[in-house]
Symmetry: C2
Subunit: 434 residues, 2 copies
């Protein structure tokens, strides 16, 4: 892409336009924690809602779940996280800085040249204590992934709903990983949000087919929501990269300013997870298949995405600086479903009748969508403000409107204007935003 | 209420109908942690969305925020949580059980009669360590409330948006309190979700007026979403209950099976919080008032509600057992906006043409709403299933539909049926659900 931006520029733009602030900024921040500001929270909500609508509501073969962040520690024994969810860590004997062993080459410290210690395993789960005593019996972890909530509740979902295989369970929620080196803005943070699906099928053969379908479905989802296709690619994991139980895994990667990096991973996990929880809990999670009258331990495909990474990709991809007849403009070309503000309503000038009509329209529209009313400055300046936060439609009430009951709607991307009957504005927007 | 249910019945119904499961149940649970199942997550999402739409989208004087759970520990020094967010705790010298000192009378243990220790302060914030070293320099807390994120980001919001006082900042998110005695199902849990607003005004006089408006607005919100008014009441805090900085506080209480208890608190906090953060961070949070050309430290009204409590209240209030002509039915009479499933579509019997038409209608409706298709059992039985999860409309395609292109829509509450043109079903639902 010719106008590819630097991460620094993205961070600045995100702050200046109330999308993303440094967390606890007035206290000097907190190691790569970030807050979503007034426009950022709307963008993030829209990304989550688009996923929820497309993956759960519209499909009909997936149900939702919202499991707790704090789980019984036995969950993490069964899943292998207590034993294996570690990074190799080295300390510099000189400056005492810590590094991931797989991120440094040789035995010298990248910072001061001092000698590095042997690598030791560092578990990435945040540990805390529930209840008034800080001892081992009270240890709980902040979940490092939402997925295990789905496996642990699988039996309950089977027993209390009427789902037939194949079906999926979807969840959106916060997870926590005590990364040694968080970084790249919201790309790798210790606290992050995930959207994960566990799609259960009858056997290994169905899993193979479902895996291919999910890789395509998830790639297409990002593309259909406006990511430029050349900025997306699929990366199949090498056999050596796979966990011992995994059959296959493919990442959807986005071309971030720091290079192609993982947005989402789709994995064929066999029946490993349900088997592990069966072994550790003693609760049989098998599905009774009416057709064959047998009990089945389902196989599972896991499309697991990062919400913050998706938001970052949509933000980076939308950011454009364009030459126009009036000079340069910066614009966020979000898909209308993702745009924080769907429309802005302006009176052409600050005259009573125009203001009244514009406010009336604003009142109608804000019952359905996030919209803004703006009467300050020239219309050109108001367009620029809305371009900068990615509002797809600007609607101006002018003197002609008082006669013909029509308004001018200006399209963010084409900058073309068209006259639309006031009474048709809701339909106009509905068709274009859905 | 004549059919007031017991908590035990609510817990059972919530599980059986896939609303709420015990967290980590297959491992024996985890001290009062709960998961929202397939219908529960839809109900909870609808409650959060109704709040977000009514309090943020439709008002126009409130913006959103989504700040991180992990904040710089200096935030909790400034807010007073490190020093003062404690419960008095006593231990029994006999059986070693722990109690809140204010929940036991006398000096003997309620469990074994043993002697109790002196009360000591127990801080309710969960403590963990960020980064690879578990020492004091790395301590971080899980936030005990979302509100402080709003105060900490207030200056950023002022600088990057064009809000004029009075305006509010709203946030939905998880908080954590290490309660000594969690209980009453989802009413008091260690992990919970909040919806909080900080509504900033110019001075103490405006704060007094805004406080009254917010008490009314929040009471009405629950009422308008269908809570039976007699089950709601306002409780004004006594002067002795108020924090030293608080000017006034009123709770909205709901008549839970265990008695009237807090759903939401509305507090007039003066300008205490912004002042504290100004003192501790050195960052001046004042607002420049264009009218008077002076800098103002705003006062704030805080309507702070618990999402899980709201969900529990809507669930308890909706639950009815009714005598009908065909016998008894159990029904969840949710407001249509809150109902997890908006409509169910049935073919009268399992004949190809009816199935095809019903599935066609289902396909259209699931583009907009969570709906279900059901062809199994008698229509009466299918009505009962939908009543039990609170679906407001059941739509049946019968042989007549093939001729007159009309379907029968049955209303959950009145059980009345009416014939509606298939092409009008979307409008019919849209009018009733919004």
């Amino acid at each position: 892409m010719d106008n590819k931006v630097s991460m620094e520029e993205v961070v600045n733009v995100a702050k200046r336009r109330a999308f993303i602030y440094a967390g606890s900024e007035i206290y000097g921040g907190l190691a790569n924690a970030w807050d979503y500001g007034p426009y950022g929270v709307l963008l993030k909500n829209n990304v989550k809602q688009a996923w929820w609508q497309d993956m759960v509501m519209k499909r009909g073969d997936i149900v939702g779940l919202d499991s707790a962040i704090l789980m019984n520690p036995k969950v993490w024994e069964a899943s292998g996280h207590i034993a294996e969810f570690t990074d190799p860590l080295v300390d510099c004997k000189g400056c005492k800085q810590r590094f991931r062993a797989d991120h440094v080459e040789g035995n010298d410290c990248p910072n001061c040249g001092g000698e590095l210690t042997e690598a030791r395993s560092f578990n990435l789960m945040f540990k805390t204590h529930a209840g008034p005593v800080d001892d081992e019996s009270n240890v709980v972890y902040l979940r490092p992934e939402t997925a295990q909530g789905i496996f642990v509740d699988f039996k309950n979902i089977l027993d209390t709903t009427r789902n037939k295989l194949p079906f999926g369970v979807a969840q959106i929620g916060k997870s926590f990983r005590n990364e040694i080196t968080p970084g790249n803005f919201t790309f790798r943070t210790r606290e992050f949000e995930q959207f994960e699906i566990e799609y259960f099928v009858k056997d290994a053969l169905s899993a193979k087919k479902a895996f291919d379908e999910w890789v395509k479905a998830r790639f297409d989802w990002y593309k259909d929501l406006g990511i430029y296709p050349d900025n997306l690619r699929l990366r199949e994991h090498e056999k050596t990269e796979l966990a011992h139980y995994a059959v296959a895994a493919t990442d959807v990667e986005y071309n971030f300013p720091f290079g192609f990096s993982e947005l989402e991973g789709i994995a064929n996990r066999g029946n490993y997870d349900l088997q592990q929880h069966w072994d550790h809990s003693g609760v049989d999670p098998r599905y009774f298949d009416e057709e064959t009258k047998t009990k089945i331990l389902p196989h599972v495909i896991e499309p697991s995405g990062g919400v913050d990474r998706a938001v970052l990709a949509f933000l980076v991809d939308a950011y454009k600086i364009e030459k126009t007849e009036e000079g340069e403009r910066t614009v966020l070309k979000f898909h209308p479903r993702l745009a924080p503000i769907k429309a802005a309503i302006f009176p052409l000038v600050k005259k009573d009748q125009l203001v009244m009509e514009a406010k009336k329209l604003f009142s109608q529209l804000k019952e359905r969508w996030f919209v803004e009313y703006d009467e300050s400055g020239t219309v050109g300046r108001r367009y620029r403000r809305q371009d900068e936060i990615g509002t797809p439609y600007c609607i101006t009430v002018d003197f002609g409107s008082l006669e013909d009951k029509m308004v001018t709607i200006r399209d963010r991307d084409t900058m073309q204007q068209e006259r639309v009957l006031m009474n048709d504005v809701i339909n106009f927007l509905e068709e274009r935003i859905k």
